[in-house]
């Protein structure tokens, strides 16, 4: 459901009397809240727990919760401590902490002021059935208003989807995440070559399978639409100002190199599903007058020594399947082939960047 707002805009456009404007309310008695975001999976890697303070709505800065004691306890009573390597971020020791499917875990965070936060026990479920991912080339209409003129642009790309074949109506819940990495080479006179990348998320919400809509035993699940269009990514010939030299401009000719796309399929438990679903209601509600009544979304963590304290965030345990592909366009450019490659740690790749002369270590060939 969306966009009753547009109806108002519509009327306002007719009459030129209605509009929206930024609004800053006078807030009062704002509570304090801690935010704990934890995810452990069956992957063999370093897991990260983030502990921060929620900030006032109109504040830009973030406030990490430093110096906390963070550990995870399994169903055998073993505790695994996390180290704070950057402010508010606590990392596991991958050598000692290897989550096991079927085990249960709970998270404990003890802050400097001796508040103790504990999560509910979470079971690490087995991996879900890995289904094939397919792409469907599509040319979609994309409407933009540029310089006051209405324009409809054709946007070429592919819809990625997977097909589930459920065994019963009580099949598992999944959460899907993805990364799209666009790698390209920029050529100019100085330096002659730069290796550039941009990283995207194809979803504007937590992508979970919703059994409310799909009660049959086989259904397609949309993973996201990926535009394959140079204009869309701004990867076109352009003039670029040189930092530190206001008068210096260089011409860059960009060559699209490749698209790399990775999908993660997390097998989540009911608590996790309900949590992300509640957050989705808020994310989907943006920009709407017919939005649901706003609400407070709580996770599975509480403050043991003070039940009135507000605790936000969630401790998630889930197993994961990863599919990573290089997307190869056909000669005609109308079709795309997915060539599966080994999983890549996209978390370590920054959102955007470039490396002059030589490709970075993370460069995908």
């Amino acid at each position: 459901m969306k966009q009753f707002l547009w109806f108002s805009v519509l009327l306002c456009s007719i009459t030129a009397f209605s509009c929206k404007e930024l609004y800053t309310p006078e807030l009062e008695d704002i509570p304090e809240a801690i935010v704990i975001e934890g995810l452990i999976t069956d992957e063999y890697k370093t897991h990260v727990i983030s502990v921060t303070k929620a900030v006032n709505y109109d504040t830009i800065a973030t406030f990490p919760e430093k110096g906390a004691k963070v550990f995870i306890t399994d169903n055998l009573g073993n505790s695994f401590y996390f180290k704070e390597l950057t402010a508010g971020k606590y990392y596991s020791d991958s050598a000692t902490f290897k989550p096991k499917i079927g085990s249960t875990y709970f998270l404990t965070v003890v802050t400097k002021n001796n508040n103790v936060y504990k999560s509910a026990e979470q079971k690490l479920l087995p991996k879900g059935t890995q289904e094939e991912i397919s792409s469907i080339p599509q040319k979609l209409k994309y409407n933009l208003t540029i310089d006051g003129k209405a324009q409809f642009l054709d946007l070429k790309g592919s819809h990625f989807q997977t097909v589930f074949r459920l065994q019963s109506e009580t099949e598992p819940y999944y959460r899907f995440s993805n990364y799209l990495l666009v790698e390209y080479i920029a050529r100019s006179s100085d330096p002659p070559i730069s290796y550039c990348w941009k990283k995207y998320n194809l979803n504007d919400f937590f992508n979970i399978n919703d059994r409310q809509y799909n009660s049959s035993l086989e259904f397609q699940h949309d993973l996201g639409f990926c535009p394959f269009d140079l204009n869309f990514y701004g990867v076109v010939r352009r003039e670029v100002s040189i930092p530190g030299c206001p008068m210096c401009v260089r011409i860059i000719n960009n060559d699209l190199y490749k698209y790399i796309i990775s999908f993660k399929q997390y097998h989540i438990n009911n608590d996790t599903y309900k949590y992300y679903k509640s957050l989705n209601r808020q994310l989907a509600a943006s920009q709407q007058i017919f939005d649901p009544i706003s609400f407070q979304s709580y996770g599975n963590i509480t403050c043991v020594n003070d039940s009135n304290k507000i605790v936000l965030g969630f401790f998630e345990t889930s197993s994961v399947n990863i599919n990573t592909y290089i997307v190869e366009p056909s000669i005609s450019g109308n079709n795309y082939t997915l060539n599966k490659i080994s999983p890549i740690d996209f978390d370590s790749i920054s959102q955007e960047g470039y490396n002059d002369l030589a490709p970075p270590k993370s460069w995908i060939y």
């Binding site: 707002l5 456009s13 809240a33 409407n143 017919f290």
Partner: protein
């Protein structure tokens, strides 16, 4: 009776005469230059004899008279004038005289100290017939409601007549003078003298016994009444008053007009429905010809669904609800169609900025009245002119049609048929479309067994359909269409029995059948992978029986009391979940389910609904009133949005959702001043709700097979005081309305998941402490009228984001406790200027135009304050912000032309 009142009365008479007779003036008389216009004669006569002569200049504009007429004795002068002009003259009293056209059949009201005196028919025809047919209507002067079964006794003939179910009567009596006595239970007996010249009409107005006759002047009785004085917490608007309501976007809008009365609110320029005394919009029963409409707004509330043409009367009961009504907890709005005293075909219409309307009123052989009307909007073409891709591909339109047929089968029997259809469509960017429509029909049969016993049977059907289509071109796999609908059928069989003048007993049986289709989702487009899904339909039978008495104890005290028993059967076929009682209901706590067959009763609810009203007349112009009513409501609009949407679901009471029970106490003091030139009312009320539907955090309403897991039962209270002061006459008329009220809710569950704000009292969505309306009209002259409406409201309750944080790259906000804050206060001034048809114009075509300026000082009233994420493509963690949406943020001119011919 002072001179002003007489002048006013005479003016009204002229207006009526001009409108209904379409007088034909005799050929002009060619006279030489020695002759003078009629105006000159009149001035001379008025100066010479110290009299005042009223006439319609149009009747004499092409006639000239010899100036010696003014030198003649007055009666002789009149005699010559009437012969030349073929007009008649009537003496009001020693000072006032009125000229009438020759075909005049309407009444002239004269009043002396003792009794009313009326002349009926054409003086020139006097003596041509021995008998004459006198027809007319007997009505309540305060409400203009027709009085059924009123008795007229022609005392000198010892003959009696009686008004029928429409309040109409017909008497075949000898020409000449007669004395009439008119009696009706609860009303002052009226004695009047009539002089019958020929066939003619007579309208008799009766006054409640609680008001002394001499206090209710003819003037005040003729002024349009907005406020019914027979009950408390009731507002009644008749066809005349409807025209005088403040204009909404240049057009009369009954619901918007009612929202300017105390205790009634809307969400602003937009917003479906209305709210009465802290109740939600679904707690109002809007009955059009006795059949309910389930969405009373076009274009999401921009204008109401009621076409003002063809409506005879609208009455809103805010409290003290008669035993005749039930079904909804807060208010009853009844709308009656019709065109009283329709003599010829009439065409009515209007042309406005947003829409136009047209209606036909057709009398057929004096027994049948047919009204057909319709409206349509034309905003689409304007959208195409807007240089915005989204808006160019958008559309917003509505249309409606209504039909009403009234058939007088016999003097005892009457049949009326009503039909209504409406459609609204709204699409933005061609990607998201809303559609909804109402389809209504009713058949009403009235029968009078005798003068004291009547019955009325009504069959009604109402269907509401809504749909929402999402066809985002960027997500064709997820495109779908969602539909829901409600079918309502009713049978009402009511009786009215008047054993004597002190009692009016009403009793009846009602049955209502509901079929609700909560939702069906279907794939939209060939590429869609959405699977078809249905939510089980809901069926229910509501039934009620009632008996009540309107008992006049004595001149000071009267009572209305009654009992209504309503019951409800929630029916199969249905699969009903059984939940683990130890936990909050959720999908995970379902432990079993029961299957019920079609028509099988799943759950039964019921309860007594006492009604009681008391009136004590403190003195001749003031009264003290008290009322109590309980109403059970078995169907609720399920909506977890702050503003009602067309796709909100109607949900029947079942084993989990108990019926909403509302108890209301109201106490009022009513006082009129200066012979009813000023009306004042002061009321206080207290309402208590049981089983108000509230919503869990993040509840899902649509396509939820176990919606009971997302609903919470809450308690509610509303209380407040309402003050209403109205000025009825003079150049400046209007009213001031002020409401001070609170409306609160509270959950009571021990389970944290079923608590809101930790079970503390919190503001309801429509909790607004102050509501002030100042509405007025100033008549510049006969043709020009200036109007203004000022409205002030405390801002609506709202929840703001207080904190923010990031989860997996998405910015999430933490909202305050529910409805912790208030939106900025709302206030607005609208003004209008209307120009009415000149009285001199003899054309059938009558029109007036209205220019309005809405929001004169351009306040940007917040309609909504909402949180908006940065939704740049592929950038989902950008900054977000709160925005204020205002609908009309600058002075906005509108123009409407209305006509009738």
């Amino acid at each position: 009776m002072n001179q002003f009142i007489v002048r006013f009365l005479v003016l009204i008479v002229f207006l009526c005469v001009d409108l209904v007779t379409n007088a034909q003036i005799a050929d002009s008389i060619k006279i030489k230059n020695a002759f003078v216009p009629f105006d000159t004669i009149v001035k001379d006569l008025e100066a010479k004899y110290d009299v005042k002569i009223f006439y319609n200049p149009g009747w004499f504009e092409r006639k000239e008279f010899i100036n010696t007429i003014s030198q003649m004795p007055l009666e002789e002068a009149f005699s010559i004038i009437t012969k030349i002009s073929q007009s008649t003259v009537s003496k009001i009293n020693d000072t006032y005289y009125v000229f009438l056209p020759p075909s005049q059949e309407t009444i002239i009201t004269t009043q002396n100290d003792d009794f009313s005196f009326y002349e009926i028919g054409d003086r020139l025809s006097y003596g041509s017939k021995s008998n004459a047919l006198v027809k007319g209507t007997i009505m309540d002067a305060s409400s203009t409601n027709e009085l059924i079964g009123a008795k007229i006794k022609v005392t000198d003939l010892n003959k009696s007549f009686e008004s029928d179910y429409r309040g109409k009567f017909a008497m075949q009596i000898p020409v000449g003078e007669h004395e009439l006595k008119v009696v009706y239970p609860g009303f002052e007996e009226k004695t009047m003298k009539i002089k019958v010249f020929s066939d003619g009409n007579l309208t008799i107005e009766m006054y409640l016994k609680t008001i002394l006759l001499d206090e209710v002047s003819v003037t005040s009785a003729r002024i349009d009444q907005y406020y019914r004085r027979t009950k408390m917490s009731v507002m009644s608007i008749d066809a005349k008053a409807i025209k005088e309501l403040p204009k909404n976007l240049g057009e009369t809008d009954i619901i918007k007009g009612l929202s300017l009365m105390p205790g009634v609110q809307t969400t602003g320029e937009f917003g479906s429905g209305f709210n009465v005394r802290g109740g939600s919009a679904d707690q109002n029963l809007v009955l059009i010809e006795d059949v309910p409409i389930f969405n009373s707004s076009h274009l999401f509330g921009l204008t109401s669904i009621l076409n003002p043409d063809g409506i005879a009367e609208a009455t809103l009961y805010k409290g003290g609800i008669p035993v005749l009504f039930g079904e909804r907890a807060s208010s009853i709005l009844t709308v009656k169609m019709g065109s009283p005293d329709l003599e010829r075909v009439k065409v009515k219409g209007g042309i406005g900025l947003i829409n136009s309307r047209l209606s036909l009123e057709i009398p057929i052989k004096k027994k049948i009245t047919l009204i057909i009307g319709g409206r349509t909007s034309y905003s689409d073409w304007m959208l195409k002119k807007i240089p915005d891709a989204d808006l160019m591909n958008s559309s917003a339109s509505f249309n409606d049609m209504n039909m009403f047929l009234s058939y007088d089968i016999s003097k005892r029997d009457k049949l009326s048929l009503f039909g209504y259809s409406s459609n609204d469509k709204f699409s933005i960017s061609g990607t998201h479309s809303y559609g909804y429509g109402n389809l209504l029909g009713s058949a009403n049969f009235s029968h009078r067994f005798n003068s004291n016993f009547y019955t009325n049977i009504t069959l009604g059907v109402s269907q509401y359909n809504a749909s929402y289509t999402e066809k985002d071109t960027l997500k064709p796999l997820n495109s779908y269409k969602l539909t829901n609908s409600l079918l309502y059928r009713s049978l009402k069989w009511n009786f009215i029995y008047k054993p004597n003048e002190k009692h009016i007993v009403s009793l009846g049986l009602n049955g209502f059948l509901y079929n609700v289709s909560p939702g069906e989702v279907t794939p939209f487009g060939e590429e869609s992978s959405v699977l078809k899904k249905n939510i089980e339909t809901e069926n229910g039978l509501e039934w009620a029986g009632f008996i009540g008495d309107d008992f006049k104890v004595n001149d000071k005290i009267s009572l209305e009391f009654g009992i209504r028993y309503s019951g409800f059967n929630y029916l199969g076929a249905k699969k009903v979940n059984i939940y683990d009682p130890r936990f909050s209901k959720s999908e995970e706590t379902i432990i079993d389910s029961l299957i019920f067959k079609k028509g099988e009763t799943i759950q039964t609810w019921g309860g007594i609904e006492p009604r009681f009203s008391f009136r004590y007349n403190v003195n001749l112009s003031s009264s003290l009133r008290f009322s109590y009513n309980r109403i059970n409501q078995y169907v609720n609009l399920i909506s977890n949005t702050a503003v009602s949407t067309p796709t909100d679901l109607w949900k029947l009471s079942d084993g989990f959702l108990k019926p909403l029970v509302s108890d209301q106490l109201a106490l009022g003091y009513f006082k009129n001043f200066k012979q009813n030139a000023y009306e004042t009312t002061f009321e206080v009320f207290y309402k208590q709700y049981q089983n108000v539907t509230e919503y869990k955090n993040g509840s899902q309403i649509l396509l939820n097979n176990h919606v009971e897991t997302d609903l919470i039962s809450a308690r509610g209270i509303s209380f407040g005081a309402e003050l209403y002061i109205k000025k009825n006459n003079g150049k400046l008329t209007g009213w001031v309305s002020y409401t001070l009220s609170k409306s609160l809710r509270k959950t009571t569950s021990q389970n944290p998941e079923e608590q809101i704000n930790k079970n503390a009292w919190f503001s309801d969505n429509m909790d607004r402490l102050h509501n002030l309306v100042i509405n007025g009209g100033y008549s510049l002259n006969k043709q020009w009228k200036l109007g203004f409406t000022f409205n002030y409201n405390t801002g609506r309750p709202v929840s703001y984001p207080e904190l923010k944080y990031t989860m997996k790259g998405y910015q999430i906000v933490y909202y305050s406790d529910r409805n912790k804050y208030k939106m900025p206060d709302y206030h607005k001034l609208d003004i209008s200027l209307s120009r009415y048809e000149s009285l001199k114009i003899k054309k059938k075509w009558k029109g007036y135009w209205t220019i309005s300026i809405i929001n004169v000082y351009g306040r940007k009233n917040a309609y909504s304050i909402f949180y908006q994420r940065d939704r740049s493509p592929f950038n989902y963690n950008g900054r977000s912000a709160l925005y204020k949406l205002y609908i009309i943020g600058r002075p906005m001119p509108t123009f409407t032309y209305n006509f009738v011919f």
